[in-house]
C-alpha cells in the first residue's frame, strides 16, 4: 500500500467515488462536463474511462433537469452523485434541492430515502467575480434535511465523500476550487495530504483540532483553515498560542469541540468565506453564548465577506476575503493586543 502518496483534493474525491462505484452498482455520477472533461475542477477525472457513459453521464446545461432527475433516481433506489458546477448556480435548481431532496424523507414519514450527493464548487480568490466565487455555506446549512460538508484537505475529502455516498440522506459536498490542487489554480501546500489507497469513511459532525493552543480559539473550515493556520504561525512569533478548529461539516455542527476549546481559551474568533450576516460565524458564536456566556473573557470576533457581492477586481476581491493578516489582527483584538 502506498500510504505515502500525497494526493490532491480533486484526486482524492475522484478516488473515493471510483471505490464506491466499484463496490456498489447503484452509484452513478451526473453533471455538466463531468464525463469527457473529468469535471472542471477535476472531481470526476478518470471515471468515464473506467465506468462508461451509462454511469458517468454528461448532462445538458439544465441544473433543474438533472438535479431533479437525481432526486428521482435516489428515491427509486440509486445512489446518484450530481455535480452543481458552481454553487452560485443553485438558483435555478433550488426547488429540487431544498423542497424535494431535503424534505421527501420527512414528507414520506421515512418511507422514502433520498441517498443523493450534491457536490459543488465554492469559493473565490481568483478573480472570477460575483456569480462564480461565492461559498454560500449558510444558505444550505440553514435549510433542514441536508447534511453539509466542506473539507479542507485531501484526506478529509476522500473520507467525507465515501460517507456522503453511503448516507441515506442528501449530502451537500462543498469543495473549494482553490483547494483542489489543479494545475491551473494555486492551492495551499497542506491541502494535498497522504491518502490511503483503500476506502474509508469519516463521520459527519466531527471537527478536527488542526493546531492545539491555549490562548484563543480560531473556528473555521474549508479554505479558511489554511488562512487561519498561516495566522496562527504568525501569531506564534508574538507569543500567542492559537487553537485552530476545522469544522469539516456545517450540518451536523460539532458544537461540543467548539465549546471545549472556548472553555479552555476563553477567546473566540470565527472565520468564514461566506457572507457575514446570518451565517456560520453568528451560528458558532451563538452556540457558545447560549450554552454559557461566561466562557468568553472578551467579545468574540468574526471575519467573513462583508455583505457585498464578491468583486471581480483583484485588489477589491482580496480586500473582502478574510486572510492571514486580518485573522491575526482580529485575534489580537480578542487578546487586548491590538494596534
Amino acid at each position: 500500500m502506498s500510504s505515502n502518496r500525497q494526493l490532491t483534493v480533486s484526486r482524492a474525491m475522484a478516488e473515493a467515488i471510483a471505490l464506491e462505484m466499484r463496490t456498489d452498482p447503484s452509484v452513478f455520477v451526473m453533471g455538466e462536463d463531468i464525463g469527457t472533461y473529468g469535471g472542471i475542477f477535476g472531481a470526476t477525472a478518470g471515471l468515464l474511462d473506467e465506468f462508461g457513459e451509462e454511469r458517468v453521464r454528461d448532462t445538458p446545461i439544465s441544473e433543474t433537469g438533472f438535479i431533479g432527475a437525481g432526486v428521482g433516481a435516489a428515491m427509486a433506489g440509486m445512489r446518484p452523485i450530481v455535480e452543481l458546477m458552481f454553487v452560485d448556480f443553485f438558483g435555478v435548481c433550488m426547488d429540487s434541492i431544498y423542497n424535494l431532496a431535503a424534505k421527501n424523507t420527512y414528507f414520506s414519514g421515512g418511507n422514502c430515502k433520498v441517498p443523493m450527493v450534491i457536490m459543488t464548487a465554492t469559493g473565490g480568490g481568483y478573480s472570477d467575480a460575483g456569480q462564480h466565487s461565492q461559498t454560500l455555506h449558510a444558505t444550505f446549512a440553514h435549510l433542514p434535511g441536508m447534511k453539509v460538508v466542506a473539507p479542507s484537505n485531501a484526506y478529509d475529502a476522500k473520507g467525507l465523500m465515501a460517507a456522503a455516498i453511503r448516507d441515506d440522506s442528501p449530502v451537500v459536498f462543498m469543495f473549494h476550487k482553490g483547494l483542489q490542487g489543479l494545475a491551473w489554480m494555486a492551492s495551499p501546500e497542506e491541502a494535498a495530504t497522504a491518502v490511503p489507497e483503500e476506502a474509508y469513511t469519516l463521520p459527519f459532525g466531527e471537527a478536527r483540532v488542526v493546531r492545539a493552543g491555549k490562548d484563543v480559539t480560531l473556528v473555521t473550515l474549508s479554505m479558511m483553515v489554511h488562512r487561519a493556520m498561516d495566522a496562527a504561525r504568525a501569531l506564534e512569533k508574538d507569543g500567542i498560542d492559537a487553537e485552530v478548529i476545522d469544522l469539516r461539516s456545517l450540518v451536523p455542527l460539532d458544537r461540543e469541540t467548539i465549546l471545549q476549546s472556548v472553555a479552555k481559551t476563553g477567546r473566540l474568533v470565527v472565520v468564514d468565506e461566506d457572507y457575514r450576516s446570518y451565517g456560520l460565524t453568528a451560528e458558532v458564536i451563538a452556540s457558545v453564548v447560549e450554552k454559557d456566556p461566561g466562557l468568553l473573557k472578551a467579545p468574540p470576533q468574526r471575519l467573513a465577506v462583508p455583505d457585498v457581492p464578491i468583486p471581480y477586481s483583484r485588489p477589491m476581491e482580496q480586500f473582502v476575503l478574510p486572510n492571514a493578516e486580518t485573522i491575526a489582527a482580529a485575534t489580537r483584538i480578542t487578546l487586548g493586543k491590538a494596534g
Binding site: S2, L7, L182, A183
Partner: protein, 80 residues
Amino acid sequence: MTDVTVPEDLWDANKTPEGIVANWFYSDGAEVPEGATLAELMVEKSSFDIAAPAAGTLRIVVPKDGTVRPGSVIARLESG
C-alpha cells in the same frame, strides 16, 4: 537507477516548447511502486500524468512548478 523521463511524443514541442510540473504525488525520498502515478505535468491547459517506470526511492530532479520539455528527466528512481 531508473530515469523518469517525459515521453518525447507527449506533446508537440514545436507548438508549445515547455510545460511545468504541476504536482508531485510523492515526496522526495519516498518509496514508490512501479506504475504509481508520480507527477502531473501541465502543458498550456492540458495535464498529463507520469507513471513510475520502476519501483524505487524517488529522487526529484524538477520540483513543483519547474519547467519541462519532451525528453526531460524529472526524477530518478534508486533501486533498493
